[in-house]
Point group: C2
Chain length 142, copies 2
């Protein structure tokens, strides 16, 4: 979703009603220079900080999942009990900083094309994701 676009139209295009709450969430998520990563908790905080009115937690969950289903958000797998989401929905990989629990984008160009020699009969590949775990250089790792 590009910057400053008409969120009302965007939402309507994919069959989501442009409600006040969804438009607010679009503004928080997409009215910015760069894509970013967040947890639901992060998002709730951002909304309550930047907006004068609050959005119910259930709505935040609903809307994030609706956006994910429509391809406006991507979920990122980390071995945490939390879900991370990414407003960058293009194919790309991630670094995960185990010290800070921060996710960092890794362009496709930063990793050579991955060639998978094995295949599962009757199954097609939906995605290939690389997760590079990093941690501080100068101390013992977990």
């Amino acid at each position: 979703m590009p910057k400053n676009c008409n969120f009302v139209e965007k939402l309507r295009e994919v069959g989501l009603r442009p409600t006040k709450q969804r438009i607010k969430m679009c503004e928080v998520l997409y009215n910015r220079e760069k894509t970013f990563h967040f947890t639901i908790n992060d998002l709730v905080k951002m909304i309550s900080e930047k907006m004068n009115e609050k959005i119910s937690l259930a709505t935040v969950y609903n809307t994030v999942h609706a956006f994910e289903k429509k391809g406006y958000l991507k979920e990122i797998s980390i071995d945490s009990q939390k879900s991370y989401f990414d407003t960058n929905t293009s194919a790309h990989h991630h670094f995960f900083d185990e010290d800070t629990h921060e996710l960092i984008d890794c362009d496709e160009s930063d990793i050579d094309k991955i060639n998978i020699k094995k295949n599962i009969t009757g199954k097609k590949i939906n995605s290939v994701e690389v997760l590079v775990r990093v941690a501080s250089d100068n101390q013992t790792q977990k």
Copy 2:
């Protein structure tokens, strides 16, 4: 951990007391031909099915985490709310079947060595994991 090994000695070697519960869990996890994947829930079921006595849920969690810390188990990242564990602790990648929620091993030899061109200053790479999501070939994917 090889098959039929002396679990008492193995546990002692890394500084874990060979308790009745830990030995039982070793038997369930390692007395078998092949390595496998499981969730805590799977494991609890397996224990109560195969054993005549039960092990407390808290102990299962504690022991799985103790084994993980000692390198007897590896945790696998999936965008689920559950944690998956793998008795294959060698470096390898995974397929995740989105239909059945099954994890399938993928040898290092099945994927060419991954070369990461980007690096994060002050951080060292702990691991590089590839997750290949697959789903049924003949229907619409999520």
